[in-house]
């Protein structure tokens, strides 16, 4: 065991360059696995956002656009669908439930969603999980609001606190519906979906705060008081979209076709899963590019290690000659250098993997809060193990080149190191 022990001491003797090499490999491994974690985390977050909804119906537009604005609160609808169309679709015998949603306003950067109390009953996420209230209850009064977990946490709201909704979806509010404030009636438990960053109000409330608005600005001359608005018919004329659950999955295509061919109004009905697949297809190229870049970073780190071993080779020729003089075979010299490369790579892989998990543990809440991305902290998958094994093998191969050179030098040097 003296030879491996001395090889380790030799490595320890060059600890600065060895450490830098290990750090470079660790950083590249962290990047490679990190990209993979973010990629799968993003996919899982998106896939977990909606569950149990068979169709999403909205004004005629691209399926991705409809999915993004209705479920992920990304972007804006190109058009609304009429309430009459909604009612017509709701009458279909294939439909088990239908929940209207109306978007367009915001509260301190968080989207406001107008809907019915059925939303809390039928909308499901992450393999059929239902929303849970940590405090309060769904809205019962016209100006009640149910807020997501992130809204409550970031703004420090609790049940009973007042909320003023701003007109428009921008993070900076220029016009507010301050004459008709809401009251927090319920706070939802954390879901890891856009629900956490949404203020939910009743559909009638959306209608109520816009009843005295004309062309996007308040009509001060015809202002309507809260008491008066409560007496008015607040059935909306239009909504943004509707989420639909069917009695039978078999009917999905039939209902989808019927909605797409609805004669009264151009509508689109999309299946969330299919639209998500379309999204993956779209972002797949960018994901591949990211993976390719991180693979290049790994290759660069391994090249760095190869350079390190090659540059230290001249200093180490004496060490090799000593080993040869005491009876070490040239293959022992070859093996020692290859093992050194393998060891450095293995150390880099281990350190990079540990650093990634440490970063995930510390950064996860921040990433969740800032980007709404729920990164899972789970064990390495078989394909990730394979990638790490491939990096170690590549490290051994990268060390093989200087090792072969050392092998040749040790054969040619004989007893004297002729540098």
């Amino acid at each position: 065991m003296i030879v491996p022990r001395l090889a380790l001491k030799s490595l320890a003797n060059r600890w600065v360059t060895a450490l830098l090499t290990v750090l470079a490999i660790a950083a590249s491994v962290m990047l490679l696995l990190g990209v993979e974690k973010v990629r799968t985390g993003a996919r899982q977050s998106f896939a977990d956002t909606i569950s149990g909804t068979d169709l999403i119906v909205g004004a005629r537009s691209g399926s991705l656009n409809l999915l993004l604005y209705s479920v992920f609160r990304i972007g804006n609808p190109t058009n609304n669908m009429t309430w009459k169309s909604y009612e017509d679709i709701a009458k279909s015998p294939d439909i088990a439930w239908i929940v209207p949603i109306s978007l367009g306003d915001s509260h301190r950067g968080f989207r406001v969603l107008g809907t019915t109390p059925d939303y809390f009953k039928h909308y499901k996420f992450r393999r059929g999980q239902q929303m849970v209230f940590t405090a309060g209850a769904p809205f019962s009064d016209l100006f009640d609001a149910v807020i997501g977990a992130d809204v409550a946490e970031k703004l420090g709201y609790k049940v009973g606190d007042p909320i003023v909704v701003a007109h428009g979806a921008g993070s900076v509010a220029f016009l507010e519906h301050e004459d008709k404030p809401f009251r927090v009636s319920g706070i939802l438990a954390k879901t890891g979906t856009p629900i956490d960053r949404t203020v939910h109000v009743s559909l009638a409330a959306i209608e109520a705060i816009h009843v005295d608005w004309q062309s996007g600005v308040p009509d001060t001359a015809h202002a309507v008081t809260i008491d008066r608005v409560r007496t008015m018919n607040l059935t909306p004329k239009t909504i943004t979209a509707a989420l639909v659950g069917l009695n039978s999955k078999v009917a999905t295509f039939r209902v989808q076709r019927a909605i797409n061919e609805y004669p009264e109004e151009p509508l689109s009905a999309i299946m969330p899963g299919v639209a998500l697949q379309e999204l993956w297809g779209l972002v797949g190229t960018a994901e591949t590019a990211l993976t390719a870049i991180s693979a290049m970073v790994v290759a660069t780190a391994l090249l760095g290690m190869m350079t390190m071993i090659l540059t230290t080779l001249n200093e180490r020729r004496r060490e090799m000659a000593i080993l040869r003089s005491v009876g070490a075979r040239p293959t022992t010299v070859l093996g020692l250098l290859t093992a050194e490369g393998g060891l450095l790579t293995l150390a880099g892989v281990l350190l990079g993997t540990l650093a990634l998990y440490a970063a995930l543990l510390t950064m996860r809440p921040v990433i969740d809060r800032m980007y709404g991305l729920n990164l899972p902290i789970d064990a390495l998958r078989p394909d990730e193990w394979m990638k790490l094994a491939a990096i170690v093998v590549a490290g051994i191969l990268a060390a093989a080149l200087p090792a072969i050179r050392a092998y040749r030098l040790s054969l040619a040097d004989g007893m004297t190191v002729r540098i």
Partner: protein, 250 residues
């Protein structure tokens, strides 16, 4: 046991059996500048102490590389302790060297990051028979420690110092201990005294020969210093043994 001083006083008379025999050996270093060494006949007797003289670049190290089987001749035969090295494969030649040779380099070539004991016991990693011989005397690190003490190194120094912290004289002793451990039959030394003053040279050679005599080992030492001649049984110039030719590669 043979007393080293008696050995020094008594000139070597030979015991009739060769430790090393070269016949019609020819070797060329590969590369642009061709350097060819040819030896028609050379013998070293068991227990003989040979001083091989020659200036730098005269082929002394090439001769030692051939002798130790580190390089193989293109033609001819090198026999060591009755074994033709040419008949051995690369691995067997390396093993043979590990078992039967102790080598001391000009710059001692100690591993700077290893302990003194590590450096001395290193050859045993490649030589099972030599290791067994050492084990019959005790635990290899203990044997190495005793050898270093007998070579004049302080026990405290042996335990605590790394070879990089040693003086030249102390490094020499460690290098000698590495060559002598396990009592190999042939000690090869490549100008081990070139950096020493006269007194230190004498002391080192005395130590080396005393230990070599215990194992009845042959000693081949190459040097450019003819004043060392009185310490040896035989003195030869490389040019008397070998024909050297130089020329550019085609």
């Amino acid at each position: 046991m043979v007393d080293a001083t008696q050995v020094l006083e008594k000139r070597y008379e030979g015991d009739g059996a060769s430790a090393v025999a070269f016949s019609n050996v020819r070797f060329t270093w590969p590369g642009r500048t061709r350097f060819t060494l040819a030896i028609d006949r050379f013998e070293l007797a068991r227990g003989e102490r040979l001083l091989l003289l020659g200036p730098s670049g005269s082929g002394k190290s090439t001769f030692l590389s051939l002798l130790a089987g580190i390089v193989a001749p293109e033609a001819g035969e090198v026999r060591v302790l009755g074994t033709g090295l040419g008949k051995l494969g690369g691995a067997a030649r390396d093993r043979f060297r590990a078992e039967h040779f102790g080598i001391i380099f000009q710059m001692f070539n100690l591993l700077p990051y290893g302990s003194l004991i590590d450096n001395v016991t290193l050859p045993l990693a490649f030589a099972p028979e030599r290791r067994s011989r050492v084990k019959s005397e005790g635990d290899p690190p203990d044997v190495a420690r005793r050898l270093l003490v007998s070579l004049g190194l302080d026990e405290d120094l042996i335990e605590r110092a790394t070879t990089a912290e040693l003086s030249v004289g102390q490094q020499q002793r460690v290098a000698a201990a590495r060559a002598l451990i396990g009592a190999p039959q042939i000690i090869v030394a490549d100008e081990p005294t070139s950096a020493l003053d006269r007194d230190a040279q004498a002391a080192f050679l005395d130590l080396l020969f005393r230990q070599a005599a215990r194992a009845h080992a042959s000693v081949v030492m190459v040097s450019h210093d003819p004043t060392l001649a009185p310490y040896f049984d035989r003195v030869a110039r490389l040019t008397e043994i070998a024909t050297i030719s130089r020329g550019r590669a085609a």
